[in-house]
């Protein structure tokens, strides 16, 4: 996808120039593709985001994946033995989140950044669990974020926007191999002090395609047949291996 980026940038610049003549818009941006197609060869991918800002202010970019519920279990020690201790459920948390900005941390203390959940510190979590685990809510949240950062599903700190000149910018969005299916939203905000000057949102559709998708659909739409087929394949292959060995390898 990135290979086509030169072409894409050229196209974008033409569009941008045409657009500037008619009316000045605070931000305009586009991405190299709206789709991530997961096939059997999928091993993660990258998407190019390109844009230009027409007004003064700070650009903040957030990409959010489909929301999911997560279960977090803490291992605890009792009489020297490790076991599963407190357990909490995080409800409706982003399964993917990446954030880009050049403005430092101060801008993230704005009310507007807090409301829009911009930046790792402003992510909101809804925790359910017993009283003790709710007391340690922060610990669980931090572990959740750092775990997803390790899996490259969260990317919060130190992501800068690459400015080509005063107004033109680009960012490479990275999607690891283990992303969930669903609709991802790329959100580009232009903030001036505590004011939201403009924002744009672009969806990315992540789907399984081809053979992979057919199996997934089959498993969920015909679970009875799918289960039966799994068992039959195993029985047949087991038999076949024995037959072939007996025939060609001998005892």
């Amino acid at each position: 996808m990135i290979k086509n980026s030169t072409l894409f940038i050229l196209l974008f610049l033409t569009l941008f120039a045409a657009n500037q003549k008619s009316e000045a818009r605070p931000i305009i941006s586009g991405i190299s593709t709206n789709e991530i197609n997961i096939d059997t060869k999928f091993n993660g991918t990258e998407i190019l985001l390109f844009g230009a800002k027409g007004d003064a202010g700070d650009i903040l970019i957030a990409v959010r994946g489909p929301k999911k519920n997560f279960l977090i279990t803490k291992k605890e020690k009792f009489l020297g033995i490790w076991h599963n201790g407190n357990r909490v459920k995080l409800k409706n948390s982003y399964s993917y989140y990446s954030f880009f900005s050049n403005s430092g941390d101060k801008i993230l203390e704005n009310d507007i950044a807090k409301d829009l959940e911009l930046g790792g510190k402003n992510l909101k979590f809804y925790v359910s669990g017993n009283e003790e685990s709710r007391k340690n809510k922060n610990e669980f949240e931090m572990e959740f974020v750092s775990n997803l950062e390790q899996q490259k599903l969260y990317s919060i700190n130190g992501n800068v926007i690459d400015f080509l000149d005063e107004s033109l910018f680009k960012v490479i969005l990275k999607f690891p191999k283990n992303i969930a299916r669903g609709i991802y939203n790329v959100e580009i905000y232009l903030l001036d002090d505590n004011n939201l000057v403009s924002f744009q949102t672009i969806p990315i559709y992540v789907n399984q395609v081809g053979f992979s998708a057919q199996i997934l659909d089959f498993a969920y739409q015909e679970p009875f047949l799918y289960g039966l087929l799994s068992v039959i394949i195993a029985l047949v292959v087991g038999w076949l291996a024995n037959y072939l060995f007996a025939r060609f390898v001998g005892k």
């Binding site: 997961i38 977090i72 191999k177 498993a219 679970p223 799994s230 068992v231 024995n242 060995f245 005892k251």
Partner: protein, 310 residues
């Protein structure tokens, strides 16, 4: 070489999975154990969600067991009559086990209880087997005569079992036991299997040797016979109720483990029954020791995070 798994939603290395299948299949063919104890944790380690790792291992176990069973069947090493009784008990036990598991899960803190029970249980079985194996091997090789305790507790217990009603003769194993014994035994093992997700063969084989007193030659084949039914039931139920079986991952493991099972069965015939029993005992002991140590060593990840389906 990578392939994307549609249900697990993650790509894996094909070669790695094939090798894993080959190894578990080999163990299945040689010792008559499923190999889930090896495959399941490994799959989790490379990033497959735990529930999918367990269910897909069950799918693979069917293939290696069929492959190994047929090879044993040809040599006349399967007691089908005994196998059928074990299957009946196994079905009842695993169904019971699933309900017990759901109940205990709600109360929490159950995994640790199971782990400890498992370590104690497997640990003592393997040590008894190991000592027994070494004694017989040394007795044969160096003509050492080990003193036998008269009327040990085990013998008294077994004598007591011999008095149970409904005695049936099993011609293949050349033993007579009450039908209740294999059924009760396999219900108990079925419960443990459902609770642990692994370990059917591990417990079944020592039970066949020491409680049912079946000859070593038929133990492996009969265990495989029994495992096929239990694993098929489990795969099917997991696919229907939880959509947890990844057929692509399963297929890769099925192919390689069927081949592995053939190789394992062939190697098994080259080793005499006593050494084989000692090998198995050693294997069980090592797994048990690993579990024991993992109870006390600090986990690499203090927090376990899993995405829920709904």
């Amino acid at each position: 070489m990578q392939i994307y798994l549609p249900i697990a939603e993650i790509p894996v290395n094909i070669i790695l999975i094939l090798l894993l299948g080959l190894l578990t299949g080999f163990l299945a063919g040689m010792f008559g154990i499923g190999g889930g104890f090896l495959a399941t944790p490994f799959l989790m380690f490379i990033g497959i969600p735990p529930a999918i790792a367990v269910s897909t291992s069950a799918n693979q176990i069917i293939a290696s067991s069929v492959s190994g069973l047929l090879a044993n069947l040809k040599r006349g090493n399967v007691d089908i009559r005994m196998g059928i009784f074990l299957v009946i008990g196994g079905f009842i036990g695993s169904t019971l086990g699933v309900s017990i598991f759901r109940f205990l899960q709600k109360t929490g803190h159950i995994d640790i209880v199971i782990n400890i029970v498992y370590v104690v249980f497997l640990g003592s079985i393997s040590i008894i087997m190991l000592i027994d194996g070494i004694k017989t091997i040394t007795a044969k090789k160096y003509n050492i005569i080990w003193e036998k305790k008269q009327n040990s507790k085990m013998e008294k217990f077994l004598e007591h079992l011999d008095k149970w009603p409904w005695q049936i003769y099993f011609p293949k194993s050349e033993i007579s036991v009450s039908v209740f014994i294999p059924i009760i035994l396999s219900i108990g093992i079925g419960i443990l299997v459902a609770l642990m997700g692994i370990g059917g063969g591990f417990i079944m084989i020592p039970a066949m040797i020491y409680i049912l007193r079946m000859p070593s030659t038929v133990v492996v084949g009969t265990s495989l016979f029994q495992i096929i039914f239990i694993a098929s039931n489990s795969t099917f139920l997991q696919a229907v109720t939880n959509n947890n079986v990844d057929i692509v991952l399963g297929f890769l493991m099925i192919i390689s483990s069927s081949i592995g099972a053939q190789l394992g069965t062939r190697s098994g015939t080259k080793v005499d029954a006593d050494s084989m029993r000692s090998f198995l005992a050693l294997l069980i002991f090592l797994v048990c020791a690993k579990m024991f140590l993992s109870l006390f060593t600090s986990p690499s990840e203090l927090f376990l995070i899993e995405a829920l389906k709904q």
